[in-house]
Subunit: 215 residues, 2 copies
DNA sequence: TAGATTGTTAATCGATTAACAATC
DNA sequence: TAGATTGTTAATCGATTAACAATC
């Protein structure tokens, strides 16, 4: 462990791999594995050992020469690094099928994010239960935010409401949007957006399928 | 348009951008825009004009000097290229919240993929309606596949059933898996897997949020 | 100590950008 | 024809891999 105050910015390529490392390390930990070498992890994750060491060293190095990486320690460091210990809070906007699926999923809890509320505009769903939460009306979002500030707005609304919701949320000062709407919302740079474009993913699969066939 | 028989393999970086181009072109088309230059598209998509031209030229070039790209034509070419005209068929495996959300979504239809069936193992849901489909028992999957071969198995089962389902599907000869299970299933190389790791996406957002805060 | 494996620097590879000739 | 904008080659940049000295 050489540098601890690693404020040099980490390359996007590395950032994109971080969550995957987290997932594999969690797995190893759950399976009771105590230590892992970059070579073993590389085999497991289909990467090169060199890349793994290079990646971890962006953060000062989590390993020990001649030993490798302690799974529990490395996992803990990744967890901190990724913000899973920050106790972030999220609300789901749009209580349709997808919003409902997300509200019920373990996705959040396992990563230290608490879903504190669900919002919608439809009279049909406002007031109804979704898991342990009651769906609130969108009009009460601003008040809610002031009383219970949250960090992540999960956008699960129809396309035509997406930009409006993003504007609303960004104006309140919510720092991050997890965007499932399938369109790319425009927000001021202080608001971070992470897109999940399911359609893009499906089409990429379709492309690969077609390539495979035409050979 | 220089080369038409472009069998040189396209770089992964380009492939990853293709669906996004498709989305923006569809948008332009729906808004009635007739032509677009690489410079305009670059501004719209936050890329460089150079990159866009480079990307399209992997496939032989879709534009015309002095004019730019005809939106309708470019969209059509992308559509073909991405396989949206192939009439692929998919089944959803796992009729929980996420499977149900996907079954109801327009995601498939808009990309030329038809969802032909939904499968589950739970007696509670088998036989019930999901949209216009009736949930079938997993035991009938093999028979179904033989009668109505499909190209894409959408895995929406719990983690502990994921590898088993992947094995089943791969053994049948299904050429592609769209994997929402959050674990990385092992399948023979003839089976293409496209992963949607929602948890990874959330955690990446969490990371960025934390970085933003500590500045 | 010797063996193992990291941290780190240097070399290679691939992807992006810049530049400009071709051409509509 | 002149102006615009592509297609394409060359230059730059960034990311990955290889190699090895540091060190547990």
């Amino acid at each position: 462990m050489k540098r601890e105050n690693e404020e040099k910015t980490v390359s996007p390529a590395v950032v994109a791999r971080l969550s995957r490392y987290y997932r594999f390390l969690r797995d190893l930990k759950e399976r009771g594995v105590e230590r892992v070498s970059s070579a073993e992890l590389a085999r497991l994750m289909d990467l090169t050992a060199s890349q793994i060491r290079q990646d971890f060293n962006c953060f000062g190095g989590f390993g020990q020469q001649g030993y490798g990486y302690n799974v529990e320690h490395l996992f803990g460091e990744l967890r901190k690094l990724l913000g899973a210990e920050e106790g972030y809070s999220a609300v789901i906007i749009g209580a349709g099928n997808l919003g409902s699926a997300l509200a019920h999923a373990q996705t959040f809890v396992r990563r230290g994010v608490a879903v504190s509320a669900v919002f919608d505009v439809s009279r049909r769903v406002v007031g109804s239960a979704m898991g342990s939460l009651t769906v609130r009306h969108m009009d009460t979002l601003a008040d809610y935010y002031r009383e219970h500030p949250f960090q992540i707005a999960v956008l699960c609304v129809p396309k035509d409401a997406a930009q409006f919701c993003a504007d609303t949320v960004a104006e309140l000062g919510v720092p991050a949007i997890w965007n499932f709407t399938g369109i790319e919302v425009r927000v001021p740079p202080r608001c971070i957006v992470e897109n999940v474009h399911l359609g893009d993913s499906l089409l990429t699969l379709s492309y690969k399928l077609r390539q495979r066939e035409s050979r």
